[in-house]
Every structure is written in structure tokens, then in C-alpha cells.
């Protein structure tokens, strides 16, 4: 960790962009800082809603967007079609579970993954950085596979209830 703590970096970034440091922005950034599990916006919402009474998901989405613009947060490429935020802005790599879509940082610092950049000029592409996604099976799913069949994870946002189909078979009258 450099001289400036992450929190100080965050405040500096706000000031540099002329954006007010609001309670919501601070709390959401705090809640994110230490996590290496790349939560979805809804998981971030769950994490902050108790200490920030009355926050809305809307605000979480908006703040996350702002933090990305400020450069203190990134979005990870996700194997699911759901946004995943990443508090690390420096180059690092990921482990992706093919069964449950868990997404965590690679911890092994021993391997220096310095990669030669491809020539993408023909494609008109200017490469700025890269990230390696290692795919495989996480601990939980390996255990599980000895008992149950591999199960997909629960939806990000708890399902409300099963509210009885409206179009009854009879009501259709053949249709």
C-alpha cells in the first residue's frame, strides 16, 4: 500500500474531479476496498444497506459508475452476464470457477505473468493493459461434485416469491 491510503486516494480523486465526497460514496468505497471477491452491485447494496439506512440500489449503481470514472475502481470481465466490480486498479489476474462463476484474485505472487503484447495494429486496436483469467473449479464445487450434481449459484438478488401464473390453462380456451 503506498503512502496514501486507499481512502485518501479516493478523496483526492473526488477533489481532483470536483465531485463532493458524500456519505454514500465513502461507505460504498469502504465496503469494497478489502474485498477480493468482486461483488455484483446487488451484493454491494447488501453490504452497505445496514450501515447506510435508506440507500437505494439506484444509488449503488450510480456510485459504482462514478467510482469507475474516478479511476479508483474497475469492472472485471465476468463469466456471468452481471456486473462485477474490482477495487484493485493495478494489473492483476483472476480465478474463475466454471461451475459457480466465483471470481477471485490470483494470490500467488511468485509467478510474474508478464505477457508479450500481440500486434493488433491490423485490427486498429491500441492495447493499454491486460488481465489473465484462469478458469477451473473452486474448492466448494469440487467437494459438491462428489455428492450432488453441479449446481448453479442462486440469483444475485433474492427471488421474491412464486406468484401463481396469471394465464390459467382454462382461461386460454385453446388460444
Amino acid at each position: 500500500m503506498p503512502i496514501l491510503s486507499r481512502m485518501q486516494q479516493f478523496e483526492a480523486a473526488c477533489r481532483a474531479h470536483g465531485l463532493p465526497v458524500t456519505v454514500q460514496r465513502r461507505r460504498i468505497f469502504e465496503a469494497l476496498c478489502d474485498r477480493t471477491d468482486h461483488p455484483t452491485p446487488d451484493q454491494v447494496y447488501s453490504a452497505v444497506k445496514d450501515t447506510l439506512p435508506g440507500v437505494s440500489r439506484t444509488t449503488v449503481y450510480r456510485v459504482l459508475d462514478t467510482l469507475v470514472r474516478l479511476g479508483v475502481l474497475t469492472k472485471a470481465c465476468s463469466p456471468t452476464a452481471t456486473t462485477r466490480v474490482d477495487p484493485r486498479t493495478a494489473r492483476h489476474h483472476h480465478l474463475v470457477c466454471q461451475r459457480c462463476d466465483r471470481l477471485v484474485d490470483v494470490e500467488d505472487a511468485a509467478v510474474d505473468h508478464r505477457v508479450r503484447l500481440p500486434d493488433a495494429r491490423r485490427q486498429g486496436f491500441t492495447i493499454a493493459d491486460y488481465s489473465i483469467y484462469f478458469t477451473g473449479v473452486c474448492a466448494a464445487c469440487q467437494e459438491e461434485s462428489t455428492t450432488h450434481p453441479p449446481s448453479r449459484p442462486a440469483p444475485q438478488r433474492a427471488r421474491k416469491r412464486k406468484p401463481a401464473r396469471s394465464r390459467s390453462p382454462a382461461a386460454r380456451a385453446r388460444g
Copy 2:
């Protein structure tokens, strides 16, 4: 391309799993085979709907899922909150545009990106493969930035129309 063409691989996979080779499955797989741009399900739908009158998005989603299960298709990690399908099943790498989320294959075959796998045993993770995502700016966005401010791409699925807010300011009567 090996002895078996991709189409033959596909049919073999269906037979191996005891699944019927339907028109929809064949057409959708055909439409995908040659693309290196990792379309969203909706883009796949647009691509096939003219030659497959009456297909529904539901079917496209279901068929894509089936093709992934059959192992003839993969899902790419996506920087957006939208599914992206990938007809290449062998190891390969990607270019990701940070501005418009364009996602294309790396074409430069000269660079052999053989990467040393990290030790993820502490994390209980078994690594099977990997893919490198090179992030940067695509040709279109580079040109654009000289004129307009960088613009987000259009939504995957064309917006119907702007249907006048229902709760009129007056109707709320303060609220």
C-alpha cells in the same frame, strides 16, 4: 480446421448426447461459426431471424445454452452485463475496447502466450485453462475521440420508443 468441419463436429456432438439436430440448432450454430466478434444472444437472434422465420429469442437463448453444454460453443467473459458467445473452443485470447466494450479475438498468431499457471492450492482452486484479455481502445473509438466525446454503444436490443412517463407531475399532487 481439422478433418471434421465445424458443422460435422456439431452434428456429432448432438448425436453423442442423443439430442435431435433441429433446424434452429443448425442455423444458429452456422450463424455463429465464422464470427469473431462474440455476439450477444440478441445479436444472434437478429442474425438468424430472417432465414428462420418465427424464431423467438427464447429459442436462441435455449439453443445457445444447449450448444455450450454440448461443448461446441463457449461463453466469453464479458466486460458488459450481457452474455457474449464464442464459437472458438480452443485456447485463444481477446481484445476488449474499454470505451465501447467491443470484444474480438486476438489475431496475431506470432505471439505464443504460454503462461505459467499460478499456485491456487491455498485457494482450493484447480486450474484447467486460461484466457488473456487485452484491454485498450478499438479503431472506431480512437477516431471518434478526435471529434465527439467517447460514446457508449447502443443497447443490445433496440429500444422501442419513448412512451411518455405515466406518473405525470400533476398526478402525483406532491406525493
